[in-house]
């Protein structure tokens, strides 16, 4: 494996500046290497400590990040992970998340450059989520845990610094979103009555995975009164049924986050996850007449002619194309809330398992450690 000092001799691989926090941050801001917040200076020493958890050549391209189509090598990714404040043991999961979001079905070009406000959400499952103490409970989408905060931030910095998602240049989002700073959670597998997301998507329970979703921010669904599965699901369906979602016009996979308490009520009512999805598919509908005249004539009737070409104003409009398109994940702590996360629409969630360079499933991040 080529040593770091050798790699840093390549033209443009490193810059020299005063050994001073403010000076280094000023340099990063000038060059656009920032999300606007101060960064941890990516010194050679810190980058090398990050790369201790990398079992592949440090100059090998692991993914190409649009819209700049910059080559993401472990070296560049490690610099971004340092800047974000990651601990070195987070590095394998960060690399995996970048690889997953650069797969074709995710449509990272669209997600980066669109006027929509989506950001890649990273959902972690399996033993490594627990090993790295990724928050899946109270405030899982919020601040407080280093792994959630810095893994998600490392993703954003890589998307900007390697991928060129610079506002008004490579990132044309009309509003942007707080989720573009950091957006990483784990599923609360221990509190879920159902098989976890990665098992549902075909992976072994013992595998550690990331699932990336081109997602909006969570929107809360309050239901403190319903005592039955049908009650909870009716409230969720009512919140999911909206006229302004991108998901309406694609084979999309919007995300329903259930708190453990809501999930328990639904499961106690005899509902599997598939049953809950079916309920949402059948009940999260709006009559055609709820849409604007232009959206009916210019989009819905044209996009779905078999369903709406001659449909009357009472015709039900489902929010997804098939029941299985809904994704359901159990996250959160105590409380009678769920959340709805619409997506970019023109994207498919991608799940990847954490594997060593030889293809074996990694039982722990320590399996990546080289020094």
């Amino acid at each position: 494996m080529t040593g770091l000092s050798q790699l840093l001799k390549a033209p443009g691989a490193s810059v020299e500046t005063a050994d001073d926090f403010e000076a280094i941050n000023a340099l990063c801001r000038e060059r656009g290497w920032s999300d606007g917040l101060p960064v941890v200076p990516p010194t050679a020493e810190r980058v090398e400590r990050m790369l201790a958890y990398c079992d592949r050549p440090w100059d090998e391209t692991v993914a190409v990040i649009p819209p700049r189509y910059g080559a993401a090598t472990p070296l560049l990714l490690a610099a971004n992970a340092v800047m974000a404040g990651c601990r070195p043991e987070y590095f394998p999961l960060f690399v995996l998340a970048i690889e997953a979001m650069c797969e074709e079905p995710f449509n990272l070009y669209g997600i980066q450059a669109t006027t929509h406000l989506c950001a890649p959400l990273v959902i972690v499952n399996g033993p490594v989520a627990r090993e790295l103490e990724i928050n899946s409970g109270h405030n899982a989408f919020g601040p407080g845990r280093q792994s959630n905060a810095t893994l998600g931030r490392a993703v954003r910095l890589a998307l900007v610094n390697i991928g060129g998602a610079i506002p008004a240049l490579g990132d044309m989002s009309t509003f942007g979103s707080p989720a573009k700073y950091t957006y990483c959670v784990a599923e609360n597998e221990a509190a879920s009555p159902w098989p976890p997301l990665h098992v549902e998507r075909g992976f072994d329970a013992g595998a550690s995975t990331v699932t990336v979703v081109g997602a909006e921010c969570p929107h809360n669904i309050n239901d403190h009164e319903s005592l039955t599965a049908e009650g909870i699901l009716t409230t969720i369906a009512g919140t999911v049924a909206i006229t302004g979602a991108n998901d309406l016009f694609y084979k999309a996979e919007p995300l329903v986050i259930m708190s453990p308490e809501h999930a328990a009520t639904v499961a106690e009512g005899g509902y599997s996850k598939a049953d809950a999805k079916r309920f949402l598919y059948e009940h999260a509908r709006l009559p055609l007449g709820k849409f604007s005249k232009e959206n009916i004539e210019r989009r819905l009737r044209i996009k779905y002619p078999e369903r709406f070409a001659k449909a009357g104003m009472d015709a039900p409009v489902p929010m997804v194309q098939d029941a299985d398109d809904f994704m359901i994940v159990v996250i959160g702590g105590a409380g009678k809330h769920s959340a709805f996360i619409p997506t970019f629409g023109a994207t498919h969630a991608v799940t990847r398992a954490l594997k060593l360079h030889d293809g074996q499933l990694a039982p722990s991040v320590e399996a990546f450690r080289r020094t």
Partner: protein, 72 residues
């Protein structure tokens, strides 16, 4: 579009003003920095049909000029 240009076809990208910088950057990324970018007024979404025709009226003469420039 970049591939078509590399094959020698007459090509252009039509975009609205706010997307000009993205278009230029993408042309460089895809190895066709000389790709003509024909700018029409923003927005393109949410327009009545007459306004869409107005955008076409802006773009079409520029497209025709482009073809004329490539006449043998």
């Amino acid at each position: 579009m970049a591939e078509l240009r590399k094959r020698g076809l007459v090509t252009a990208v039509i975009c609205s003003g706010p997307f000009l910088k993205l278009g230029r950057a993408q042309a460089r990324v895809f190895g066709v920095p000389d790709m003509p970018l024909i700018v029409i007024p923003h927005p393109l979404g949410g327009l009545a049909l007459d306004d869409v025709r107005g955008r076409a009226d802006v773009a079409i003469p520029k497209v025709i000029d482009l073809f004329k420039a490539h006449l043998p």
